[in-house]
Symmetry: none
Subunit: 164 residues, 2 copies
DNA sequence: TTGACTTTTGGAATAAATTGGATTATTTTG
DNA sequence: CAAAATAATCCAATTTATTCCAAAAGTCAA
């Protein structure tokens, strides 16, 4: 059985809470007992990862203190992950409350519908319009690539030559 | 005996379910006991693979969490495979329920007829009109390729000087 | 510090949708 | 043409989603 796959539309209530579908809910519960981490992505959406997954992401930074003293890029990385990440626990009813600043950042407004995407290692929450745009980019790219592949297949060369 | 060959037209019920023909049904049952994976294709249709086939396609990436934290391209890959793929099990009556969003994507609307194509490693479900168009493209491409091949065969050079 | 008020949280009730099964209709086969 | 197999429809039971309400916590002013 695949984890964190598929997508849902769901509404975000007046208090900025969303309820996970049973599928995602059990994925989170199995993974880390419902301890999750919110994180803002540069793509303009927010991610919800099981805590252990997030720790794996951050473990990849060896010797942070030393590097912070000498690298501005690294300090900015620390700033981004530090400031744009917050932990929470999924409630008994399977709900999470999205902090105000994350809502503002990702434009997921109370009372509207949002898209919850499985991304294999967790989920992402998107403003519907923005996801449409993002998906258009991804799919458009795949289609273009396909077209080129087809075009290349038409070109006659030694490799695909067979004689009459 | 060939697996996943042939095609059917079948109707999709009011709840977005389709019933596989006995042929495809037994192919799925033999392959993975009815554990299947839905996957949306950039061509605008939806594939249904036995789960093991999908896992072969999506051979697991090493350290996905780390890569996700640092690469936008990788996050897009996760998004594509995560959001556009969902697992299910074929019911005792040989039915599957196609997730709402995938129906919308592939334009396979409840109450209409759809085409189920065998593709050797699984099946694809197409909107009838779209399949007609796709089939036209496939055949058109092969004809074009044939024409070019014939033209190339006319050109005299060392490689084909002994040919017909 | 206390009391009134607002906001947030957790839970329950209600409404909607989905699921599984069985029945009915249709097609195919002998 | 009859019997079997397959496809499609319908219905009840369950699950899921949404709304609503009450309790708790936090704010602010007197």
């Amino acid at each position: 059985m695949l984890s964190f796959c598929g997508q849902d539309r769901c509404s975000i209530d007046a208090n900025g809470r969303i309820k996970f579908s049973p599928r995602f809910l059990s994925d989170f519960m199995e993974h880390n007992g419902g301890d999750v981490v919110f994180h803002c992505l540069p793509e303009g959406a927010m991610a919800v990862y099981p805590e252990d997954i997030y720790l794996q992401m951050r473990r990849s930074e060896p010797k942070p203190a030393e590097r912070a003293s000498s690298s501005m890029v690294f300090r900015r990385t620390l700033r981004r992950f530090g400031a744009m990440t917050q932990s929470d626990k999924i409630s008994t009813q399977g709900r999470i409350t999205i902090p105000q600043m994350y809502r503002d950042y990702a434009e997921i407004h109370p009372g509207t519908e949002v898209v919850v995407l499985g991304i294999e290692i967790g989920v992402e929450i998107w403003n519907c319009e923005k996801w449409k745009e993002e998906f258009g980019k991804i799919n458009g790219h795949l289609r273009d690539k396909g077209e080129r592949e087809m075009a290349a297949d038409l070109v006659f060369n030694k490799e695909n030559k067979d004689e009459l």
